[in-house]
């Protein structure tokens, strides 16, 4: 897997590169600014980009904008956004055009190397990785009168893990239940959220997005 890293803090940038190289991943370039990052993407055509949200010059959301631009230039580029704090607006900006090959994680998750690598692979393989913290915040902000209120506690747990981007097997493993049980919960969630099986879109993603949008609108 060929990776480009965009992170303005030199210590962190080198730390990340060191970690990934030690795991046998191919870090082809590192960048400290959005411009250098975009140039590196053009030059190396990587499989995955790891992007920090806050970058020069204003240190606000340059990273998100650079990530969106990189995906415009190279459709299908997997992007994992790292953020020092949870900002729901960033998550929804990023997920506006679908959630495939996207990840949004808090920076400190990198330290849990195994989980971080799993998330990385999932995003590179076309999946999604949303930080549990982001998901938790979305649930916390949900008012009692939303459709999500109709979900049972167990179903909420399942939806939260779906939102993180986990597949059925991974969810079953995390909750220590059988695949069949997870399947049943998910069907129930789709039904309660009004997502018909005939719908062409990915229903898992739709469920998560509906939830994200719902919470964002109310925030």
């Amino acid at each position: 897997m060929r990776i480009v890293i965009a992170e303005d803090d030199p210590l962190l940038r080198e730390g990340l590169a060191l970690l990934l190289r030690a795991e046998g991943l191919d870090v082809v370039a590192t960048a400290g600014t959005p411009d250098v990052f975009l140039a590196a993407v053009d030059e190396h055509r990587p499989d995955l980009a790891i992007v920090d949200v806050r970058m020069p010059p204003t240190h606000t959301d340059e990273g998100i904008r650079a990530a969106v631009e990189a995906r415009r230039r190279q459709p299908g580029l997997a992007v994992l956004v790292l953020s020092a704090y949870v900002e729901q607006a960033f998550a929804t900006d990023l997920l506006a055009d679908g959630s495939a090959r996207l990840g949004y994680l808090l920076k400190e998750r990198v330290g849990r190397v195994e989980e971080f690598l799993t998330a990385l692979e999932r995003v590179a393989d076309g999946g999604t990785a949303i930080d549990p913290e982001v998901v938790a915040q979305l649930f916390a902000r949900t008012r009692p009168d939303t459709r999500l209120d109709r979900l049972s506690p167990r179903e909420r747990e399942v939806l939260a893990l779906m939102a993180e981007g986990l597949g059925n097997a991974a969810i079953a493993e995390r909750l220590v239940v059988t695949d069949g049980a997870v399947h049943k919960h998910i069907r129930s969630i789709f039904a309660k959220l009004g997502l018909a099986p005939a719908d062409g879109t990915d229903r898992r993603v739709a469920a998560v997005l509906r939830h994200l949008n719902d919470a964002h609108r109310r925030a």
Partner: protein, 424 residues
């Protein structure tokens, strides 16, 4: 705030008739004011001549080019008098920026009043100042008359005013008595003269009645906005420092720790090097956190007095520095923090730029303000726009509605004075 009818601070001390020391102290204060008044009176005189010259030049048209500069000079000289008067009496609030053209200047009541002040202070202020200076000299020469009269030619053996010629010892002692009389007169009239000298300024340099509150409100609104702005800037600075500094260092720690755990489980020899880097990053995080905390509110102020904190600052200054603090009790946290910041920045400047051999910090609590004065004997020439932290000092002082003056002629010495309102 009726600035012009409140009595000056020095007159508030009840000087009982028989208390010579209190009288002498009041008279001494009055002399200080009279001498200071001569300074601004001479400036006013020069400004007056320049005004007349500009007005004359305007008749030929060329003077119009001189108008903006003249108006700025007028406002600057008036501003100096305002600062002088504010130091020993009720605060004299100045108007905003000076008008730029002749037409606005003529229409501006504040400028018209300033012109009136320049004329009256140039004449009255100079005369009163000189008389005030002559009086003690006269009383001293006359009182000492018996000591020196026999050494001068007989025709010059007269009292200071040359009233009569002294020919014998009783006459000499009579002059001595006259000198003591002069001394009594001096004590009696000096405070009045100082007040009279300040009167045109207190009368004409304050905003005209009616605009008083409006100006004050405008000024308070501006300083309040500046305070909020300074506060927001401060919060942004702290947030940025925590986020991009400390937090990133800690993230790096977790990343490096994660990497070293993987290295350990792989049995790789890199683990120790990775752990060392993690430790470095953690130490950096601590150092940055300390710097941030210090910038918010110096911990030393939390459990020690301002005086102690400033002594600590002076002690750690590479240039020998003396602290003369005559203040009691505590002030509002914002005032103390700003005072600490001002002195810390000023001493940093002294150490970095002045080349001084000695510095001193004076702290006084007077007229509802905490006054801080930092002086050094260095090469001077400090410039507020030179990026030496002076702009930051001004911002923080003005955020508290305080005043800051900087005097730093080339060759030194440099004196920085800040007055912070402290509500008592």
């Amino acid at each position: 705030m009726p600035a012009h009818d409140a009595p000056p601070a020095t007159a508030q001390e009840p000087a009982r008739p028989w208390d010579v020391f209190a009288r002498a102290r009041t008279a001494l204060d009055a002399f200080e004011h009279l001498v200071g008044g001569i300074g601004t009176a001479i400036l006013a005189l020069i400004t007056l001549l320049w005004l007349v010259f500009t007005a004359a030049a305007c008749l030929f048209g060329v003077g119009l080019f001189l108008v903006p500069g003249t108006l700025r000079a007028l406002r600057a000289v008036a501003g100096r008098e305002r600062v002088r008067l504010s130091r020993w009496g009720p605060e004299v609030i100045g108007p905003g920026p000076s008008p730029t053209g002749l037409r606005q200047a003529v229409a501006d009541p504040a400028t018209r009043r300033e012109v009136g002040w320049v004329a009256s202070h140039a004449l009255l202020g100079t005369v009163l100042g000189l008389v005030g200076l002559t009086l003690p000299l006269t009383s001293a020469t006359d009182a000492a008359f018996p000591l020196w009269w026999s050494f001068v030619p007989p025709s010059e053996a007269t009292p200071s005013l040359g009233l009569w010629t002294v020919t014998d010892w009783p006459g000499a002692f009579a002059v001595s008595l006259l000198g003591i009389g002069w001394f009594a007169v001096t004590l009696a009239v000096a405070p009045g003269m100082a007040r009279l000298q300040a009167w045109p300024g207190r009368r004409l340099l304050t905003p005209p009645p009616g605009t008083d509150l409006v100006t004050r409100v405008a000024e308070l609104t501006a300083t309040r906005a500046a305070a909020l702005d300074a506060h927001a800037t401060e919060l942004r600075r702290i947030e940025r420092a925590l986020h991009d500094g400390t937090q990133n260092r800690l993230v790096a720690v977790t990343v490096l720790l994660g990497a070293s755990r993987r290295a350990v489980s792989r049995g790789s020899a890199d683990a120790d090097a990775l752990l060392e880097r993690a430790q470095d990053a953690a130490e950096q995080a601590l150092a940055e956190l300390r710097a941030v905390v210090r910038g918010i509110l110096p911990p030393v102020l939390a459990d020690r007095s301002l005086t102690d904190a400033l002594s600590g600052l002076a002690g750690s200054c590479p240039v020998p520095c003396r602290v003369d603090a005559d203040v009691e009790g505590r002030f509002a946290a914002s005032v103390e923090a700003t005072a600490y910041f001002v002195v810390a920045e000023a001493l940093t400047n002294v150490a970095r730029h002045s080349g001084a051999r000695a510095a001193s910090v004076t702290v006084r609590h007077r007229d509802g303000r905490l006054w801080l004065k930092v002086t050094d004997d260095g090469r001077g020439g400090a410039d507020e726009h030179g990026g030496s932290g002076l702009a930051g000092i001004r911002k923080r002082v003005e955020a508290l509605d305080g005043v800051l003056t900087l005097a730093s002629p080339p060759g030194g010495p440099t004196t920085l004075e800040a007055g912070l309102p402290c509500g008592s």
